[in-house]
Amino acid sequence: MTVVFFLGGMFNRMFLGIPYYLWIMVALVIFGMIAGTLFYLFFWWPLTPYHGIFWAHIRKWGASSVFDENMHFDWITERSSKVIFNETFKEAQEAEEDKTEAPAATIGNVRVDFIFDPDKWTYPDSYQHKIIEDVAEKYNTINPEDQIRTLMKFWKYWDSGKLDAYAEDLKPLKKYFYVPWARVQMMYRDREESGVFGFIMALSKTLEEIEDVGINKYWWIVLGFFGVICLAIIAGHYIH
């Protein structure tokens, strides 16, 4: 039997008394560590606030973006944003016999909802959430047929007067958020009022630059041609 070395045995040599194989292994480990560090520093750490979406994607949950009156967004799970008690959103919906609402949007296969919550109803440790939990529990014990398990249903029942018996308990909570008209009028300003003249001037200059670059592009072919000639002369010299 003839022994054939891999790549002519080029890795069977030694350097500083250690074979090349071991050197390559050490190099790969170091490379892996560097790659991992770079991945963490440049891709994972800067995206910390969006890790929830990644976990929701892996575990097939839904995600919610909860925002307050100043549009400060917090990314949390669907469960903590919609459910009163410690259960999944699906379980809560089944208990309420409610249909699943279509999500506002999707990121990949993660369902995303935007939820307006300036009064911290979705924070499990807030006193508002504790009041809601107490009231819902009281209501559910009296009405086992018609359970309140989600925050959406809680607000609807409160608004329709079904929770009037617990008015004293609900006193610290707010029912409405009041929006001034100025905020609406500012957003829906007429297009005629919008001053875009400065932008138009800047854009026209940009367009001019783009045009200039476009006209001169073919000259690079000429330069390339000269470069090839130079290379050919040098190569020709050495071939001789």
Binding site: G17, P49, F116, V179, M187, L203, N216
Partner: protein, 311 residues
Amino acid sequence: MVDVLPPEFFYMPEFFDMNLLMPLWAWILLGMIFVGFVAAVAMLYIVLIMKPVAGFGKVGESSLAKGSPTQVFSIWKNRSFVIESLWYYGNILAYGDPIKKMQMWFHNSEKATGLSAGKPVMITRDGYDGTVDFIAEMAVCEIPKIFNRDYGFEQRQKREFDPQSNKWVLSVDADGNAIMETVERKDDNGKPISISSFADIRRLMPTLVKLYPLIPIPIYQLYDLAIIYQFTPQGQDSLEFGGITMDDAKEWLISEDKPPKSWFEKNALLLMCVLMGIIGVAFVYMAFPITSTTAAASMATTSAPISIPGV
């Protein structure tokens, strides 16, 4: 492991006949320390200094580099939600390359700037040419509910046709009480006054402001795109707005009264490059002549021995 390191390890390299007084391993170590230092500085710069810049690593060089990149949430009608980075400049939010991606949004209200991940964020939709303030939108969707409930309908006594007298009469029950019904309230022209679109809100806005100085919206509410699209101004598309702005920019470019550049002005730089190229070719010819001494020597050795007759 080896007990004694091989002599190559202590080899001192020479550089232009100068002894550098350090063995090779020390030079390699020095080089690694230098590379490590540079890498550390670069990392600190990129991660700590560039991190506050929204969208770093996403926005490449672009023609609209005068603007600043801004984090944007885009919600599209195909229900996809994208976190991207757009240029904000002169009240306008645009893609870096306006020729490839023409959509533009006008930033109407500073209240439409939110905060996500500690950075400012603007929200865009493809059905509207302005940045979006969720709370204003939800308020707009709430107005029709309140107004239609309070003023859109009225109670009227029911009428019925009496075949005996061949007339319409007001209907009453057995006790003689009037039977009431809910009907849509109409204005003098016979049109219903209830709100069913954004145009209605805009038309009735002076009245609405007086009736409801503040718009109450539920303290806990889901942002429902289906209702939002119903009360969005029609005919104000982001692509259309971008197209109009581009057209205006082109007109402005043409209207600028300046003499056109001559052929030499446009191509002076590249003509200089060509000249440099010619000089380069000439230099190569002079520096590397084909009939070099080495070629001559090789020709001399390989040629046949010369025999001189008579010697």
